[in-house]
């Protein structure tokens, strides 16, 4: 296991995680600069996007009005209906075969086809997709690595799948 920004390493990886602390537009620019956008698209390995990394899998983000990787059909929209933004803290992840309470820190959310959605979270009365899955691609809006035991279980399951 390692951290890399090298397209050759990405091409040879058995499993990929696209993490995300940051903003969409600079993140996409950094991926394109290094040719990582093409490497991620060309890989056949299981790829999990985390938080911003999940959002980048989709077509377009309203955060910085930027085109993303376009590996999944859907867009990223601002959470403009919530009482407080960012959606920050621990919330329920409903679906995907287990109850979980996970840690979120985001101001934007995915809006996508129902068929991609494996679990959802309600933010001030509106459900947003917080686990998506399609073929080798998956994405989680929360931070499993910061979600104590519930997050650890989820990561272990992905690694075993």
């Amino acid at each position: 296991m390692g951290v890399s920004g090298d397209p050759a390493v990405v091409a040879g990886a058995e499993r990929l995680v696209l993490p995300g602390v940051g903003a969409a537009a600079p993140a996409m620019a950094a991926l394109r600069d290094r040719g990582l956008d093409r490497a991620l698209a060309a890989s056949a390995a299981p790829l999990m996007g985390v938080c911003l990394g999940m959002q980048l899998l989709f077509r377009h983000s309203d955060e910085g009005d930027v085109d993303c990787l376009g590996l999944l059909d859907g867009n990223v929209i601002a959470i403009d209906w919530a009482e407080r933004v960012p959606h920050m803290g621990w919330n329920d992840v409903v679906g995907d075969g287990m109850p979980a309470v996970c840690y979120f820190a985001h101001s934007f959310a995915v809006d996508c086809d129902e068929r991609l959605v494996a679990a959802r979270t309600t933010i001030d009365g509106r459900e947003v997709p917080t686990v998506v899955r399609w073929g080798r691609l998956s994405g989680v809006q929360f931070h499993p690595e910061k979600s104590a035991s519930d997050g650890r279980r989820m990561l272990e399951r992905w690694l075993a799948a």
Binding site: V85, P86, M88, G89, W90, N91, Y103, A148
Partner: protein, 250 residues
């Protein structure tokens, strides 16, 4: 439902955990990574590290400690104290911090908040506001509460949120260290004028104080000594807050 958070705050100097009776007599209290790991296991929803040392050597030691924390602490870690520009913030985030907290630097140069938010996203930019009562309102203070700025703290909260702060950590200088409860009026005043989450800080003496702070509209409550002294373990505080009907992760 989004849970209210309970956050222990740890003072860190030169990569070591310290506790102070006052600023002159700081005691080495071990490894902040061990302490953070213990708090996470006891139910802390997030950990805050406040770097109270100046100087490059201390900064490097802090970064090394943040790297170790990222390996073992499985809840979010916010680190502040001494972040004067975007490059400092980048170093902390690369080391593994989830959020960075700024206090004095944006008071001197508010545009820093927008720079941090543009570069890293609002969700990891925490603006800490140290406020003291003055003339029926509150005045924002810089330099760890020692330098009055002449700025109205509530107006500063609104400005910081408008510039892109993702969260405000609001400390009452008057209540801090008293164990007499948070400044609830200050919290209400700020929660009313911003739409970002607010973390209450300063004055926790018992679990009921934390419940009261969270009932003002604050999204989280931060405390230090009641956890460090072992008076109230985090899980006990959270159970008492939950018993009052607030949403809490148990």
């Amino acid at each position: 439902m989004l849970r209210k958070r309970v956050i222990p705050c740890l003072d860190v100097r030169g990569g070591r955990l310290v506790k102070g009776i006052n600023f002159e007599s700081l005691r080495d209290c071990g490894d902040p990574v061990d302490a953070a790991t213990r708090y996470a296991a006891d139910g802390a929803d997030e950990i805050v590290w406040l770097n109270i040392a100046a100087g490059e050597e201390s900064w490097t030691a802090l970064l090394r400690a943040v790297e170790r924390a990222a390996e073992t602490v499985d809840v979010p870690l916010c680190v502040g104290g001494g972040v004067s520009g975007a490059d400092d913030g980048r170093e902390l985030l690369l080391a593994g911090a989830d959020k960075i907290s700024v206090n004095t630097a944006p008071l001197d140069r508010p545009a820093l908040i927008a720079e941090l938010a543009d570069r890293f996203g609002s969700q990891c930019v925490v603006v800490a506001i140290d406020a003291a009562r003055r003339n029926g309102g509150w005045e924002a203070h810089a330099d760890g509460g020692r330098r009055p700025t002449g700025r109205d703290a509530v107006a500063w909260a609104r400005e910081a949120a408008g510039l892109g702060a993702g969260e405000l950590l609001v400390t009452s200088i008057d209540s801090d260290g008293t164990h007499g409860g948070y400044d609830l009026e200050l919290l209400r005043a700020i929660c009313e004028v911003v739409r970002v989450p607010v973390i209450a800080s300063g004055g926790a003496g018992r679990p009921a104080d934390i419940t009261a702070a969270l009932e003002t509209g604050a999204s989280a409550a931060l405390a230090a000594s009641i956890f460090h002294d072992g008076t109230y373990p985090i899980h006990q505080v959270k159970r008492e807050v939950a018993a009052c009907g607030l949403p809490i992760r148990i």
